[in-house]
């Protein structure tokens, strides 16, 4: 390719990105949220079996040490929170191995912020405020923001109960909706069924020209969210969508060190079962939780996808200066 030296996005998009970054910084400045930077390379990394990480090697003879490129800045930011930083945000690169497609580039830009003392519902208000403001400043009129629980939206589009797994019901749904392969692919794995059906049959409908926030995720999809106090079947997790595109994922953060360690151990065991590259449990995060993480809510938003929606581009490459193939 003769033109492979050129950016994969237009120059106009470079300018739009710069404006958005400025507007985000302005938004948090006004709210007194501190901008921080944390290392992209770390001694430990997330244990989530669904995220593949990159490793690199630090060499200063005779020392050779494996370092991980972060899949998100979550752990380092939580250590800052535990150290008393107060509310913080960060705009940084995150790295996820093997993820490449219309909505994925293995290296992408993330906006992550934590609000000390915020419940998830307060954080959702602030997410809506930020998104509405960003779109408004670019003359993009958004439909009113929608909020729905995972169970309600899942039921609305599929008629299935997301919280109570009924294998026969799920199979019937798959056969009636032209995805019979789901039966063999998902087996009796409730989590896999939810991922399959949600991403294929629910998500595409979410947030038509507007922001859609889904909360109260099933407990089996808890990640780093806290179990809801009055309903142990769901967790305090929110995902946001516009035009069927997943833009971000937030939690009322888990502060219980024992529960966090148990989830790490479960995920490390799962990685072993699936013969995935071993990840290292982040002892420093555990120590920080042990010292005390303040009650807080936080969210990570994929800024490249946000730019896709804002500019009407159909693939992530069109909003990156250089996508993987030109990097």
């Amino acid at each position: 390719m003769i033109d492979a030296w050129r950016p994969s996005c237009s120059l106009e998009l470079l300018r739009l990105r710069a404006q958005i970054l400025q507007e985000i910084r302005h938004f948090f400045l006004k709210k007194g949220v501190l901008e921080v930077e944390t290392p992209l390379m770390s001694h430990a990394v997330g244990t989530d079996p669904q995220l593949a990480f990159f490793t690199t090697e630090y060499c200063a003879a005779p020392v050779r040490q494996t370092l991980f490129l972060q899949t998100s800045p979550e752990f380092a930011m939580k250590r800052l929170l535990a150290a008393g930083s107060g509310s913080i945000y960060q705009i940084c690169k995150a790295f996820r191995n093997g993820e490449s497609g219309r909505f994925h580039n293995p290296e992408f830009t993330m906006l992550e912020w934590y609000r000390v003392g915020f419940t998830l519902s307060l954080l959702m208000d602030e997410i809506a405020e930020l998104i509405e403001q960003l779109f408004g400043q670019h003359d993009y009129s958004l439909a009113p923001t929608q909020r729905s629980s995972y169970q309600a939206i899942f039921g609305q589009y599929t008629g299935l109960d997301a919280l109570n797994f009924d294998y026969a019901d799920y199979c019937r749904y798959a056969l009636a909706n032209e995805c019979p392969e789901a039966v063999a692919l998902c087996g009796e794995d409730h989590v896999l069924w939810l991922d399959f059906i949600f991403s294929h049959h629910v998500q595409p409908h979410l947030g038509e020209n507007g922001l859609c926030m889904i909360y109260d995720y099933p407990a089996c999809q808890s990640s780093l969210a806290r179990i809801k106090q009055d309903n142990p079947k769901v967790v305090e997790r929110v995902e946001i969508f516009i035009n069927g595109i997943e833009l971000g994922n937030g939690f009322y953060e888990l502060t219980d060190v024992k529960e966090q360690e148990r989830r790490f151990n479960d995920e490390i065991r799962l990685r072993q079962q699936k013969v995935l590259p071993a990840s290292v449990k982040d002892q420093r995060l555990l120590a920080a939780l042990d010292a005390g993480l303040p009650e807080c809510s936080g969210i990570a938003v994929g800024l490249d996808r946000l730019l896709m929606v804002l500019s009407g581009n159909q693939s992530i490459g069109e909003v990156l200066s250089f996508s993987l193939h030109r990097a």
């Binding site: 989530d48 669904q50 093997g98 993820e99 490449s100 497609g101 219309r102 909505f103 994925h104 032209e178 995805c179 392969e181 789901a182 692919l185 989590v191 896999l192 939810l194 991922d195 399959f196 949600f198 991403s199 294929h200 998500q203 999809q221 990640s223 995902e239 997943e246 971000g248 994922n249 994929g302």
Partner: protein, 188 residues
């Protein structure tokens, strides 16, 4: 035959699915931020021509299908099978009505065409994009009409019926686009 992972699924790749040879049309990577990665794949079944969508777990693989398109010469119809020949090796192949399908409407003895082979047996036949065929039957044109407006049906030597302008007459040879079945021009 080699196997191909979902990461290698590109448009045009031929793979085996449910024991049938298929061609990948489109492959989309679908992954929830905190969830299983899938590939949503659009596939054409090369035996039936049907297009289906199928989801795979990312990293799953399919066996490649030994499917190739070969330029051949159509030889003749023996009443049960049509016979084709590779012009360079003179190797001959035969194919029944089901495989030849609608291509039969455009195949004239000695004409070039494309035969899709699966494990060295014909799977499908595609006529050349443009063919020249003789009209065997059409109503006489209306005197004075020289434009193409309206038109009339004309039966060709291969059995196909196409709409032709009124001035075109029986026994004339015309050029037809086989992809649309449309008349292009008269051939002198």
């Amino acid at each position: 035959m080699a196997t191909f992972s979902t990461n290698e699924f590109r448009s045009g790749l031929k793979v085996m699915l449910d024991n049938d040879p298929c061609a990948i049309i489109e492959n989309e990577f679908v992954k929830p931020g905190k969830g299983q990665a899938f590939n949503r794949v659009k596939i054409r079944n090369l035996k039936t021509g049907r297009v289906i969508e199928r989801t795979f777990k990312s990293g799953e693989s399919l066996e490649g299908a030994d499917v190739v398109d070969v330029e051949m010469q159509y030889l003749y119809n023996d009443g049960q099978h049509r016979h084709f020949m590779k012009p360079d090796t003179f190797e001959q192949y035969e194919a029944g009505d089901v495989i030849v399908g609608d291509a039969a409407l455009w195949l004239k003895d000695q004409d070039p065409c494309t035969v899709t082979l699966w494990n060295n047996s014909p799977l499908a036949v595609t006529p050349a994009n443009f063919v020249e065929l003789q009209i065997v039957e059409t109503d006489p044109g209306v005197r004075g009409d020289t434009s193409g407006g309206g038109g009339k049906p004309a039966k060709l030597e291969t059995g196909a019926v196409v709409r032709v302008p009124l001035f075109v007459q029986t026994d004339e040879v015309i050029k037809v686009d086989t992809r649309t079945g449309e008349y292009i021009s008269r051939v002198k």
